[in-house]
Structure formats: C-alpha cells, structure tokens
C-alpha cells in the first residue's frame, strides 16, 4: 500500500529510543524526512546515527518547557521548510500507588505528556493551517483506558491525553489537521524492560480466564514490538487515513477491556 508519505516531514518527540525511535525509522522507510527530539544530546546523536537517513535531524528539547517547544518547532520548520506530521511520544511511565507518588512527580508527568503536546499543537497548528492541513498523532499508553495497579499517576495523565486528543481533533478538523491517538500496551521497549505485570494478572478477568492464565501477560499470547506501534502511526499519518479523526487504535494484543 502506497502511504503517500514520500517527501513529507515529521517531528517525533521522545524519538531517541523504543517506540519513538521505531516510529522515526518507519517514517524514514516510507520516505519521510524526520526530526526527532529528546533531552539527552548523546542519546539523540546515537539515535540519529542509527536512523542513517540523509537529512534526519536531532534536536535537544525538553517538551515541558514551552519556550523549548517553540524553538523546536521553529528549528524543524526552518530546517525542512515545513512540518506535515507531528508524533507526540515523549513521556515515561510512573509506577507507584497513590501514597507513593510525590505531587511534584505527578505535575512533572502531566507537564511532559499533556502540557508538552498542548504547546506543540499551539505552535504547529497555525503553520499546518497555512499549509492546508497536517497530522498530529499522540502515543498514549493503554493505562489511559485500563487503569493499571500501582500506576495511578500514569493512569490519570494518560486519560487526560485522551481528552486532549478528542477535544483538539474537534478544533482542528475543519482545517484538515487530523488528530488521533495510537494506544500501546504490552510492547517490548526499554520502558517495559523492568515492568512487572504480576499485579494485573487478575484485573478484570473472569474466573475461567484467571484459571487458564489467559491474559496473564497478553491475550494474544505474545508481546508486541515497537515496530507494531510504528506501523499504526505510519498508517494514521498517511494519505490513506484522510477520514480518521479524533479516533484511536489499540495496539495491545487485546489487553484493553472495553467493548468500545
């Protein structure tokens, strides 16, 4: 399937490892020119080297800092002459129960995963509007839909990301800027390396499912790869997805429990 991505330009935040880097690689394979951002220069340089694409750019930016986001967007527009696609992927996962997470950590988390993309959208939307459209895709960990035990901070912030995506999609749709989400869970990445899923074994499972160990890890019986997320992001970013707006795709091996 020709995704029509050749020559498009994309900015991927949190693009130095795991899912973000896989998304960048996928978009490069489809013919995009990509810029990735991250907080650590050395990691960024290594990631850009790994991408091995002629004009891939690595830009140091902390998305929690609005001024840095503005500089980032200007740098990508200046470097590439425009931005067609933004993939907001920056952010981590905070473990801990209600009384184990410091308020400051929750705020920091919110700033990375909600205020960061908010500022990114504010900076990039006028530019995309002028160009006649664009794509804005947020990678939202599945704790946003399926609250995970001992991860209350991630559960709250990721759910807020969903509200952000749907509301922003309403505002930008008339300008042909399509905002959507891709929702990973059970993906092998540096983020999930040390993650224990033990507490989730019985979460919302029927007795039969518990006894059969169904869903002990993943309903499909295997873990996904970062490339699985990258494929979904590439499709949603593509010219083939021109009527998908304010939607999301679960890429989670069947983990989430809602029928919707």
């Amino acid at each position: 399937m020709d995704l029509g991505l050749t020559g498009k330009t994309a900015l991927i935040t949190g693009g130095t490892s795991g899912i973000g880097l896989a998304v960048a690689r996928r978009l490069v394979d489809e013919g995009c020119r990509v810029a990735i951002c991250g907080r650590d220069r050395a990691k960024l340089d290594a990631a850009v080297a790994e991408l091995n694409a002629r004009d891939a750019k690595g830009i140091v930016a902390d998305v929690r800092n609005p001024a840095a986001v503005a500089t980032l967007v200007d740098a990508v527009i200046g470097g590439f002459g425009g931005i067609d696609i933004v993939v907001s992927n920056a952010g981590t996962h905070i473990a801990g129960r209600f009384d184990e997470v410091a308020t400051e950590d929750l705020i920091r988390h919110f700033n990375t995963k909600v205020v960061g993309p908010w500022e990114l959208a504010r900076r990039v939307a006028p530019h995309m509007r002028e160009r006649g459209g664009g794509r804005f895709i947020v990678v939202i960990g599945q704790t946003g839909k399926v609250p995970q035990a001992s991860a209350i901070a991630s559960n709250i912030v990721n759910a807020a990301q969903h509200a952000f995506v749907k509301s922003l999609s309403d505002e930008l749709a008339p300008h042909n800027i399509l905002v959507n989400a891709v929702c990973p869970s059970r993906i092998r990445s540096p983020l999930t390396d040390g993650l224990t899923l033990y507490n989730e074994v019985y979460l919302g499972r029927s007795l039969e499912q518990q006894e059969s160990k169904w869903g002990a890890e993943v309903p499909l019986g295997r873990w996904g790869e970062a490339a699985d997320i990258a494929n979904a992001v590439a499709f949603v970013a593509s010219s083939r997805a021109g009527f998908i707006c304010g939607a999301n795709i679960d890429v989670d091996g069947g983990h989430q429990r809602s029928i919707f």
Binding site: M1, L3, E30, G144, K145, H162, A163, K166, S169, D170, A173, P174, N176, L178, R186, I187, Q209, W214, P219, L220, G221, G224, E225, D228, N231, A232, A234, F235, S238, R240, A241, G242, F243, I244, C245, G246, A247, N248, I249, D250, V251, D252, G253, G254, H255, Q256, S258, I259, F260
Partner: protein, 263 residues
Amino acid sequence: MDLGLRGKTALVTGGSRGIGKAVARALLQEGCAVSICGRKADTLDIAKRELAGLGPQVIGIPTDITDEAAVRRFVDTSLETLGRIDILVNSAGTHLRGTVETTTLDILERQLRDKVFGFFAVIQAVLPIMKRQRDGRIVNIVGQAARHPHPDRFPSGVTNAAVMAMTKSIADAVARDNIRVNAVCPQYIESDLLAFLIDKEMRERGVDRATAAAGFTRANPMGRTGRPEEVGDLVAFMVSNCADFVTGSSVSIDGGYHRYVFG
C-alpha cells in the same frame, strides 16, 4: 508499506455494494483472492465484473447471511475454490431507523438477524478453518450508532452495540489461536446507504437535496462525508501483517463524528 497480503484469501460479505465492495477492491489491489457475497445475484454479478482483473481472483456467491445453510455454502464453496480463508470482513447488513415507539419487534428482529446473527453465523463458520491454519483476521464493519445512540436510530443503535460486544468477546476467545478480531466503525460514508438516507430525509422532512446532504456533512467536525475507499484502506491495514498485534480494538472512521473520549 508492504501489508503482506499477497497470496492471502478473503471473504467479504455485503461485497457487492458500498463499503463491502470498496473493501473487496482494496484487498484485491493488495494481492488477495476475494470471495464476495450479497443477496441479489444480479448486483453481485455487476460487482464481480467491476472487480475482476484488479487482483488475483474474485468470485461471487449469492448468499442471504440470515440463512445459516446459505452461509455454510458460501464458506464451503469459497474454501474449495480459494484453498484457504485468511480474512473475513463482515460488511453485510443494513441500517434501520425508527424510535422506540415506531420500532416493531419485526423491525428489531430483522436488524438483529442481519447484523448480529448474520455476522455470528459467518464468523462461526470460518473459525474452525482459521484455527486449523493458526492464522485468521476478522473485521466487523460496525456503524457508529453503536457508540452514539440517536432517538430515531433505535434498531441500529441496539444492534451495532451488540456487534461491538460480540467483536470483543470473540477477540478474547480466539486470541490464543492467533486469530485477530477487530471492528472498523464508519459513519457518513458516501455509499448507497447514505444516498438512500438523504432521499429519505428529503421525503420525510420536505427539504431539498442540498439541505438534506448538508445535514450529514455538518454532523462531523471535518465537514465532509467519507469515501468507501477510505474505509477499504483502513480495513486492509487492520487485516494486514502490519497490524499483527491489534486485536479486540475498534477504530472509528467518521471524520470526528462520535463524541466518546476513549473511542
């Protein structure tokens, strides 16, 4: 993106018109052999001729999916002709309007027979085949009335919500057999169904075509209707190797129409 669909075989119910036909076209173009079914032999023939030559092979078998024996014939004949069944796309069925007061039991039953019992029968018929293959990909086309009830779309709302429950339940049940089951949820697609609904609005509300059509385009943030091919492309992605880790998911393709934050 290489979807890895070359050489696969697909069944598409309701494949003679609208979204179903666009799905068949997309799969043929990706290299699948496709078997379509529809109620009317003549409509099916026209579709078959239109699709022929777009891909490796297309066959058409007149089938009323509310008839269990006919469904079995459709699946058996397709399997004999194509050799395997990798993909099933359930797109048959209609959209019946009415309020809780105007909907008779007959109307509700007809809608349920089409979309719940019909989808169920085809899925049940292909599952043993897909289990033997240790590979299968199923997509149900589910109208957004499932997520977004309207007082005047009562039969459709009830039925589509039931298909969502069925989709997720079957996805759970067959995940360990490496069979993926997902829903694709379109709304306001330029198909025969939408043309019919526009005619109906004109008749019932006494408005002209432009006004009736604008009622549909205004109803979503993008301000336009979608094209059947756009749904075909999404379905092709969902049944592809590129969506290997996607199951039990439902993806909206509605120009932003539905009002649910997590959908």
